[in-house]
Symmetry: C2
Subunit: 436 residues, 2 copies
């Protein structure tokens, strides 16, 4: 049996504690599975004296996590500090350049600096593993990086943020408002005090950028992701969507388009009966289309101590077993630059909701304005409630036929200018066949 | 870059042809991903002259596949011949003992001789990979063998046979009989001329035995799987189940029980709204419960050229990347013998359907007989059709409350003896929480 794999864990929040627990509780099994022991030699966190319910008495404490990157007795640094820059980035970069393997759960770091870090890992022949950074316990990185290597991927679509999915599921189940359910989610610990990273779609966009890189052989580019959050979705949108046979989900979608790759995160109407529509609560799911494998859907818990620590451990087992995979499937020199696809010609059907004056002829005029922009209407619902308290206007909902994105943009300009329309219309895409 | 990985493919049916195609068409990508070229050096099949639409002109033809097991220029043998014994077994065993890696799609071989073959692989330090043997394109072996290594698995439940799932889905959609839909499936190529392996549950049982070994750290034991096929399911069973809020699926289920591990393949009433109930047509799906990860569901195509060849290639890429994992997660010396759990105390609710005389008092007597065996009834449906042509009896359907399996057995003996009951009652389990 080879010499033990020596591990340093930087960050002892929920996930770090989970990792330390599994290393202790599953010791014998992990040793048998890996062919060598895994030994926790150092830990680091902000607060040394806090009781975390784990025994780290025999383990070296580092006040500064960065010391691990040059410690001679550490083979792998597990980075669980978080944040795309600062200590986390410095630690990972130095550890890699010192020839240490790195396991991280840090989606922001990989989404923003993944390729640069992968270059360092490659030069030193070490692993940069980040299974825990996307969709928690779901082995989606392994599936894309190893399991589907034979496939040309045509699309990836996923429910990548459990907080948003919990909020949307609760809004549907209870009919309550976004704000009320968000407040509950915060009280339950499903949402942060500052929820903008989650509900604004940034967290999902970090994950999507990583998946898109793996799927399409391109450099990770968070900046090329179009992002829209769920803040404007109301209980009545969910109700309208349901009447039309759809659920509203925050999806991350990546697919090839004219001249590049589209990467988008936004609320989406997903047809009932498709796998992603059935994913509820804090669960995550990813649907992949490959030219050989067809559709593959993976669903599981996207966050929490157990699932995330499980993913970190799977990365550690791979390293212990001697597996070093190029971080983005192929060496960085083979990755294409990320180029945004031209979106004007993208076709999608749309859900549009706005408040309009309760006036005869108003809908006819609005419909004509849409038709002038080449947007054809499949269905219109004019509701008698909820009437807007300040303007007295009533919600009108349109479902359009498939429309080019450019036409839709023009139509929205017409719409916003119409005197009977109040405020900015809410526009939500219907899922296309690659995003269900 | 290392020297090429030299591959011999034994068997050029659908899957073999798919593998040869991918090796040619994805050559550059696979080389970049693996860090070395993959080179097809030899093939073997029954018919040398058949046109398979692939170019194998530069590749050595072996009339006897077994020659590959000792060819000096072959690093990996891909066994796609099939069958648990005969040439396939001989080829795999000899190749492994000669220090060659083996990739196989042969579920029968692994289910019956997996551990013995793993021992040989271990002694020689080579890989025995069989991703394609279970659930086609779904990377379920990789998930269990690598992705979930941190977890104690508590249950595995899967739709493992696409033919059965297609038949049940079609019966539900069209209301047609098992026999009629089977005949169609045969005409479409979804079912074999001799369908007994599929519809009798044997194929699913092979796959379940493999999954159970990986999940519970035990030796693979096909003989310990209880198997029941879908042959007795009628269109009206599917209709009754639907009225109760269930779909009928052929499930393979493995979970710990008193004194050992339960392994069962049988039709099951799965509650609508759960992930496995939503899996339709030829799709496969596996639901895993792990103590850390919670529930994880993987769904995809379980058969066909593309999905199965995709799985074979993923095994080849792993080998090219230098990954050699113990075939059943841990070395064979760590595997426990497979011991069947005692099933008498197993609790499950049941669906029971039989034909009974259309006589006053008959149902009351039958219900009393069940109560005497400690089986309590949740619901009874007595239908006015279809009346049995020969006996004039009418179908009666019971849903029971949770009942011990021992009690159910006793109840069935009472039931069979009752003069008003014709033939053998159909008994179908309702899914328990570990099997959805």
């Amino acid at each position: 049996m080879s010499k033990p794999l020596s591990i340093g864990v930087a960050g002892l929040g929920t996930v770090g504690v989970g990792v330390v627990k599994i290393l202790a509780e599953r010791k014998d099994f992990l040793t048998a599975a890996s062919g060598r022991a895994m030994k926790l030699v150092a830990v680091s966190a902000r607060n040394k004296t806090k009781d975390r319910g784990i025994d780290i008495s025999g383990v070296r404490w580092e006040d500064d996590a960065r010391a691990m990157s040059s410690a001679d007795d550490i083979d792998v640094v597990v980075e669980l500090i978080g944040g795309s820059d600062g200590i986390a980035r410095e630690l990972v970069e130095t550890a890699l350049s010192n020839g240490k393997h790195v396991v991280t759960a840090n989606k922001a770091l990989i989404a923003r600096h993944g390729v640069a870090l992968a270059r360092v890992a490659e030069q030193r022949g070490v692993a940069l593993n980040y299974e825990a950074a996307v969709a928690g316990g779901i082995p989606i990185i392994k599936a894309l990086r190893e399991g589907l290597a034979a496939n040309e991927i045509t699309s990836v679509a996923g429910i990548l943020n459990g907080t948003c999915n919990y909020i949307l599921t609760e809004m549907e189940a209870t009919g309550r408002s976004f704000e009320a359910v968000l407040a509950d989610a915060q009280a339950l610990g499903y949402a942060e005090a500052d929820p903008s990273f989650d509900v604004g779609g940034i967290d999902a966009a970090h994950k999507l950028a990583i998946l898109a890189s793996l799927a399409f052989g391109q450099e990770v580019s968070f900046d090329n992701v179009e992002v829209e959050g769920i803040e404007r979705i109301t209980a009545s949108d969910i109700e309208f969507a349901k009447d039309f046979g759809y659920k509203i989900k925050l999806l991350g979608v990546a697919m090839r388009g004219p001249g590049g790759v589209e990467q988008r995160v936004h609320p989406t109407l997903v047809p009932e009966g498709t796998p992603l529509a059935a994913v509820s609560g804090v669960f995550n799911a990813v649907s992949i289309e490959g030219d050989r494998v067809g559709q593959l859907v993976l669903e599981g818990r996207g966050a929490g101590e157990g699932p995330t620590a499980s993913a970190v451990l799977s990365d550690l087992v791979d390293i212990a077993r001697g597996l070093v995979v190029p971080p983005f499937i192929v060496p960085t020199s083979h990755l294409k630059p990320s180029v945004k696809a031209k979106s004007d010609a993208n076709k999608s059907a749309y859900y549009i909701r706005f408040n309009a004056a309760d006036r005869a002829g108003s809908i006819a005029e609005i419909t004509r304005a849409l038709a002038d922009a080449q947007v054809s209407i499949e269905r219109i619902v004019q509701s008698s409630e909820p009437r807007d308290a300040s303007t007295g206007r009533l919600p009108v909902v349109f479902l359009t036929h498939e429309t080019e994105e450019g036409s839709m943009r023009k139509a929205l300009i017409h719409l916003s200018k119409h005197e009977d329309v109040a405020g900015k219309p809410l526009v939500v895409r219907l899922a296309t066949s690659g995003s269900r």
